[in-house]
Symmetry: none
Subunit: 239 residues, 2 copies
């Protein structure tokens, strides 16, 4: 079960298409359109969807909001503007976490988006049990329709994610001893080449060198490369 | 301090404008453009920005990526595709929390976005210390450029509560151009010493070398030491 995105009186086909693409980016494909201004199907929408045309082909088209919302058990209305409403105002994050739980429990959920020009009227918002407000800056809070759909879809996607993707780095990081060996090899070569001769404080300079190799999270292959660098830069001297 | 968004070879003015609007929605206004395909200024960008034209008017325009990135102490590269890179892969959320802390400490940070068609090439990514990967679904992971900028801006906005100022160590981090010079010097010396002779893929080996020097936050004194190491290890060859 996933939430259905309902677009009330959308104006530009480009925005409807971009919204479809954004939905697909995050695994959502159930869209409903309420009296799209420029009619339906809209070629501009399909070209803007670039690959997400399937979402548009399957979109339900309705002449009035009530029939488009009628079958949902829960409706959430998106709005950028703060309103005087006797409704819970939620962040996209908390709303999608709540919807994730509801949907998992088999509750049918719709998320309602207003038109580019006017957003949602209070009448439309009255169908919703809660309002989702995107935390844009007060002085520039109007989001593009597709951008708003993207944020909601993104939070839907994150609501199922347990953690950040594991970085390949953590798996291949060199351990301390490998970096100590590296530092010692360089120190040895640099002693031969007089690197420490001029230093008033040779010990401090050697500590700095160790820090240089030890404090960074070099991978094992980088350690290998650093050994190779040393060998190649010094090879002529050995002959 | 806020991160600067750098767009590498953007194609459509509409996307640049929509990205500017998305940035302003979340309080970001520092944009840089690297050789925009359709020239600059681009009227389509200004009309798409609807109210965020100021971001475009103040945008810096550069002919090459290196000059656009040169003065940052930290660069993050955005990509949808998972890659085989020895770089930390971060979610937008964790990346922006990290950037928030760095910026609060006075570290100059750039976030790099690739072109609509090709995204970022490995060469471009080599400037970054970490990769930001948007958790889109695997089978439809390509985000619209402005949509990607919006998500990053949104997470920047949400990261506001983060505090912890950075360590002085990070404040003395070398910038990209200083690390590029370092990588080039080593590459030059290593070519002379036959480091790349055996390699089936010399280019890939050079990219790896660049990554080795560019992805770590070496301090300026460490960069100095690394120059010294190169000079001392090769000095005998010069006589």
């Amino acid at each position: 079960m996933q939430p259905v995105f309902i677009f009330d009186s959308p104006q530009l086909g480009e925005n409807i298409g971009a919204a479809a693409r954004a939905m697909r980016n995050f695994g959502l494909d159930r869209m409903r359109l309420v009296s799209p201004r420029d009619g339906w199907p809209n070629p501009k929408a399909f070209s803007a969807a670039s690959g997400a045309g399937i979402v548009l082909s399957n979109a339900g088209v309705y002449s009035d909001l009530e029939s488009a919302l009628g079958d949902f058990q829960r409706v959430y209305a998106t709005t950028a503007r703060k309103r005087e409403l006797t409704k819970k105002v939620m962040s996209p994050r908390s709303a999608m976490m709540e919807i994730r739980e509801l949907a998992a429990g088999g509750v049918s959920v719709g998320v309602l988006f207003g038109s580019e020009r006017a957003g949602l009227e209070n009448k439309a918002i009255s169908y919703a049990s809660a309002v989702i407000s995107v935390p844009a800056v007060a002085e520039f809070s109007s989001l593009n329709l597709a951008q708003c759909a993207l944020l909601i879809g993104y939070e839907w996607r994150l609501s199922e994610q347990v953690a950040d993707p594991v970085t390949s780095l953590e798996l291949t990081a060199a351990n301390v001893i490998e970096k100590v060996i590296l530092a010692d090899k360089y120190t040895e070569e640099l002693s031969k080449s007089g690197f420490f001769d001029a230093a008033q404080n040779e010990e401090a300079k050697k500590i700095n060198l160790r820090n240089l190799f030890l404090r960074h999270d070099f991978t094992m292959s980088e350690v290998k490369t650093l050994h190779g660098i040393r060998q190649f830069l010094t090879r002529r001297r050995m002959h």
